[in-house]
Symmetry: C2
Subunit: 202 residues, 2 copies
Amino acid sequence: MPRRVDHDERRRHLTAALLRIASTRGLQAVSMREVAAEAGVSLRVVQYYFTDKRTLMLSGIAELAARLDRRVRERAAAIGTGLPPRTVFEVVLGAILPTDEASRADQLAWTAYYAAGLTDPAEAVDGRYAPDALERWLTGVLQRAVDAGEVPAGVDPRIEVVGLLALTNGLVSSVLGQQRDVADAQRVVAYRLDRLFGAAGD
Amino acid sequence: MPRRVDHDERRRHLTAALLRIASTRGLQAVSMREVAAEAGVSLRVVQYYFTDKRTLMLSGIAELAARLDRRVRERAAAIGTGLPPRTVFEVVLGAILPTDEASRADQLAWTAYYAAGLTDPAEAVDGRYAPDALERWLTGVLQRAVDAGEVPAGVDPRIEVVGLLALTNGLVSSVLGQQRDVADAQRVVAYRLDRLFGAAGD
DNA sequence: CCTTTCGTGGTACGACTGTATCCCCATAGA
DNA sequence: TCTATGGGGATACAGTCGTACCACGAAAGG
């Protein structure tokens, strides 16, 4: 047999190159030749490790979903359990906002994939990566806060969580579009959480 | 002189065809030939009325901005002045949500343009169409409600409005992605407004 | 040794793209 | 009636796209 190559490592390298292009020049700038050039390999290599362009694109979104999921999960793990619900929300929602260059790039690529999936059913984000799980988890956290009376009466945990996630997503959009900076977005989230958990002035 | 043609009308026709393609098959499916076919004319005609592809695309986003702006403005005018702030917010935010097929199509196209503008500075949405004006207007409305004591204490009108617009945008995304239906989105908005204006159970 | 097979460079093909060019026709002003 | 001109049909061109194909080097198994 000839020399063996770590296919997974090779694929990760190419996928990273793809996402670098997608986040800087957009998804429509992604061609097999461009990915090859960005990764410093020949067109043939891209063809070899991803037979299709479709396969290549799917690999991109899979990696992206994994990254975003990891970002939230890592921060959630870092703070352990038994923390005040307010802190949980602050950390989780804060992990969604594009605070550094890396997360901003990922969110840009994610938005590109999302928009493409709206009209091109082929490479639909399929959403089903985490939003549901995240929504359920946070709803549970808030529900327990309600049961413990740590939150003003009349709060509907499900709707409140849906609203918070939508709010965060909307803020992500405006941050990416540079209509607002991250600090502003964090302030809006913090304000909403203050109002929800009754911290300081409410 | 040969027969004169209404250039503006011709351009509107072509722009409508462009947006029809963008909202159904995506922005990347928009080519001069496709627009020509969708409009039932020859490629030359598209070239004639929009010299560039860039010009064509710009016309698309201009029309889109005008439509979205008109939708909000019409509903705002229909309810006149002097209405309770809560109603104003309900109508304006409700006008942003994609309730019928037409507004859904426009929001799809808008999202496509927005995503494209994030990485392709050329055809950037440039945002400056209305969001600022809308934000200022609503902030004024809410500020007056605060001054009149129609709203719980401690409410920051600016941040509250920014949050409501981000929330609505986030909901639009999830509705377009079919993770939620419009009724659900409207319910979330109504819930937030209830909490803000203290209607019913709060 | 030879041979099989993995990994890869190079290149060619057909289908698209935006843009440019050439030509004709119908009509309004002379 | 003649003619200049706005409107548009048809086609060509250079470029890029995804994909397919061919050939070759190198290394491992017989």
